[in-house]
């Protein structure tokens, strides 16, 4: 049964947990082969068990997990996963299998310069002597087309962008010459520009080094762009395994179809007229903010949000868009400029007057679950702002909270559950209900859908849109995701290094933008989209 072409072979992988004497299955007998020099993508939504696969084949699951099944790497004798010992795993990790994670910056030591971390790793694995190691590192980085590798090596991880950290991690793992590289959502936390760089690097090492890669993602476009073969995972079982061309042009399984459908967002530009930009709700003038004297985060930010308008703020990570939202709601203090609500400067308000402003401006956070107090039920959470701001008489609060929860689709028994018992989508719904119950004029969504699966993104956006039409508040939508903003916003302000470089219309107008920075962002997106749609449309041709 030996096959020289197969790099990794997994058969009958089962993983389950026992919690409160109840067994929950994460993976139900997964089998797949990864060929030599192939990039195999595991595609699935959150909770499908895709990260568990990566952890199971590197022995990183917690001891409470029960696992069974077999795997073999590079045609060696099959290793039974249930009896693998610590020394088995040590011989696999690093030498045979290298892994990179979603948050690259966290896997690097923040207090040590990249060069030393790199060198230590090589010396530890006896791949170079202390003297000669710098040369090896530089050669590797040059081979991988890093611009300015000396600067990168001489930096601390926090001085580099998230994308650069991820590329450094990939370069480090490649140096070990592993048989297999596992990339667990390496681009999910990155903006489009960094994402393109990381994907290009993976492509490069696959082609140039013949590296076998197991790539894990929830993003169907990314999967279509990079992979040789795609394995679709749903609730711990493989539903389909195909080349991306065949998979996306002719999905056989209904789950795959639903994943493809989920990419089509509600688009506000189809049949609804844009609101008249007459009465501004929020006006931001010459806003400036710096955390330390020589590194301004915001410089001269000027923008207005009008009534009933959905305004998008687009930018790469680190451009200052989150800081802007935090300044508006008063979580950060800006040093210069003014923020006018209803003609009144609200910057630097304190005490009762700042709390008064909470009735008019509300914020939804990226990590909805973290923004809810885990000790309270959904009902109590939605009651919170009413209690703080004393908007409605105490007797009517319950009723109002119930109706708002119903409005966002949290009904019946779910209203009495606490955040740990709610799904991610439900948490975001509760957070939306909590923000809207005070009837704000402006709702700021700080990457509110960025951490969600495609299908959830669509649902939440649809919900926001429906509530927006019903209540008529203005939305300030902050995101690095062009697709979301393009289909959802009336106007899009593009932010670059703490300034707006362009404000243009949403929908197709964004595509016509001529500003070089917007063009750069668009081109990254376009590449992915093109590769995706080219595969989708194969069947149509």
């Amino acid at each position: 049964m030996k096959n020289r072409d197969v790099m990794l072979s997994v058969s009958g992988l089962r993983v389950s947990y026992f919690q409160n004497r109840k067994k929950s299955n994460i993976l139900n007998g997964i089998s797949f082969d990864l060929k030599r020099g192939e990039l195999l993508t595991v595609l699935g939504e959150s909770g499908s068990g895709k990260s568990t696969i990566a952890k199971a084949i590197t022995g990183l699951l917690p001891p409470s997990a029960r696992l069974s099944g077999e795997m073999s790497i590079d045609d060696e004798t099959a290793l039974s996963l249930s009896d693998a010992t610590a020394s088995d795993w040590r011989s696999i990790r690093g030498k045979k299998v290298a892994m990179i994670f979603q948050d690259a910056r966290q896997s690097l030591n923040p207090a040590v310069k990249i060069k030393r971390q790199f060198a230590e790793m090589l010396v530890y694995h006896r791949l170079g002597s202390r003297e000669g190691v710098t040369k090896i590192i530089l050669e590797t980085l040059k081979a991988l087309h890093f611009n300015d590798p000396e600067r990168v090596l001489d930096s601390y991880p926090f001085q580099l962008s998230g994308g650069m950290c991820q590329r450094v991690c990939i370069a480090m793992s490649i140096c070990l010459q592993p048989l297999l590289l596992i990339a667990d959502e390496p681009t999910s936390a990155l903006d489009t520009v960094s994402q393109r760089e990381v994907l290009a690097l993976l492509e490069e090492i696959k082609r140039g080094f013949g590296q076998s890669i197991l790539f894990i993602t929830h993003d169907i476009a990314v999967a279509s762009a990079v992979s040789d073969r795609v394995v679709v995972l749903n609730k711990g079982s493989i539903t389909e395994a195909e080349t991306p061309e065949r998979l996306f042009s002719n999905p056989k399984h209904s789950y795959t179809k639903s994943l493809i459908d989920a990419r089509n967002f509600p688009c506000i530009h189809q049949d609804r007229p844009a609101p008249a930009l007459a009465a501004p709700v929020l006006q931001i003038r010459d806003l400036g903010k710096c955390f330390s004297p020589d590194t301004p985060v915001l410089k001269n930010v000027n923008i207005s949000l009008y009534q009933r308008e959905i305004l998008g703020i687009l930018g790469q990570s680190g451009c200052g868009k989150s800081t802007l939202s935090r300044c508006i709601v008063g979580l950060e203090k800006a040093q210069r400029g003014e923020i006018l609500y209803d003609g009144m400067n609200v910057l630097g308000l304190r005490g009762r007057r700042r709390r008064e402003l909470c009735k008019h401006i509300q914020l939804i956070f990226q990590d909805a679950r973290a923004s809810l107090n885990p000790g309270y039920t959904a009902m109590q959470i939605v009651l919170e702002p009413l209690r703080y701001l004393k908007i409605v008489p105490a007797r009517q609060r319950q009723e109002l909270a119930r109706s708002y929860l119903g409005e966002v689709g949290i009904d019946g028994d779910t209203q009495n559950r606490r955040p740990p018992q709610l799904s991610t989508g439900q948490c975001q719904r509760v957070a939306i209900a909590r923000a809207l119950i005070v009837k704000p004029d402006a709702l700021i969504c700080d990457e509110a859908v960025s951490a969600l699966d495609m299908s959830l993104q669509g649902q939440i956006l649809e919900l926001l849109l429906r509530l927006h039409e019903r209540f008529g508040f203005g939305i300030l939508m902050i995101s690095h995701d062009i697709r979301v903003l393009r289909s959802f916003c009336h106007r899009i302000a593009v932010m670059q290094a703490g300034e707006f470089c362009e404000i243009c219309g949403g929908g197709s107008e964004l595509k016509e933008s001529t500003h070089p920075y917007t063009q750069l962002l668009l081109s990254c997106e376009k590449e992915l989209e093109e590769s995706y749609y080219s595969k989708i449309n194969l069947m149509a041709d």
């Binding site: 008063g330 909470c358 956070f365 919170e384």
Partner: protein, 278 residues
């Protein structure tokens, strides 16, 4: 491996609780368990070794050691509980106050006060206060309470500093919560478990410290029975009749042991680091 750890905390917690309940029961039911009054002197029966009438013997004044130990336990246990409650409330309040108002005048003033209290030998401070105001149990408790809130305040403050930039706390601010509401509804629940765990350990220490000060004659005054002062009284007769020390010593060891076991069990069960991270 995991299973064994889980068992470990259960055993520790349950046996600690059982032991503490036993002690509290004995001390509370002192009049039932012993037929003698704690201050009743019997000149004819001085330093009698343990016998049927006096299970733990009598002391130099012919008083029954068992009944003095049990009644003395009331003084010791009640005073430690009172001191701990005061210290806990003060500590948590100061911790929340300084943590929320980090780097303001309040924070600086309290932290410097804490530095002073930490660097001042506790026994010396107690002696100075007692010398100024006179020896009495009340004065002693006041001094202990005035010092003992410090560890709770520091722990609370460090948790608050860590937690106050949490998304949930920021969300409450955006929703219009007053600072006091944030402190009580968002931060306090995260502080309680770790502080309670520390409190069980401190309680053991507190029993020892109050007894130590009473041993030095700074606390409960004769004829009030108290474990520490009983040890001090028995010291003179230690070599000819060691039984005089047995009662308070055994009870004191058992109490501190029980409290430490409870603390150990609670810590493994609730794992403060897990809680802090939550």
């Amino acid at each position: 491996m995991r299973q064994r750890r889980a068992e470990h905390w259960k055993i520790s917690l349950i046996s600690g609780f059982a032991l503490l309940c036993g002690i509290v029961f004995c001390v509370a039911g002192a009049s039932l368990l012993s037929g003698y009054s704690p201050s009743e002197q019997d000149a004819a029966a001085r330093l009698v070794p343990p016998s049927r009438e006096h299970p733990m013997g009598t002391d130099a004044f012919g008083r029954d050691v068992l009944s003095r130990t049990l009644y003395g336990g009331r003084t010791t246990l009640i005073s430690t509980t009172v001191v701990l409650t005061v210290a806990l409330l003060t500590g948590i309040t100061v911790g929340l106050l300084t943590g929320i108002n980090h780097d303001t005048v309040i924070d600086v003033v309290f932290m410097r006060l804490i530095d002073v209290l930490m660097s001042f030998p506790f026994i010396i401070l107690a002696m100075v206060v007692i010398a100024l105001f006179g020896a009495s149990l009340l004065h002693l408790l006041a001094v202990v309470a005035a010092v003992w809130w410090v560890p709770f305040a520091r722990l609370t403050r460090s948790i608050v500093l860590q937690k106050k930039s949490d998304t949930a706390v920021e969300a409450a601010r955006v929703l219009g919560a007053k600072t006091s509401a944030i402190a009580i509804r968002e931060l306090l629940p995260k502080v309680v478990a770790p502080v309670l765990i520390q409190a069980t350990f401190e309680l053991g220490n507190l029993v020892l410290s109050i007894s130590a000060l009473s041993f030095l004659g700074l606390g409960a005054q004769p004829p009030t029975p108290e474990w520490g002062s009983m040890l001090a009284d028995g010291r003179a007769h230690f070599f000819e009749s060691p039984h005089v020390l047995m009662g308070p010593a055994i009870f004191m060891i058992a109490t501190v042991l029980a409290l430490n076991m409870i603390g150990e069990g609670l810590r493994d069960w609730l794992d403060p680091f897990e809680i802090i991270r939550m």
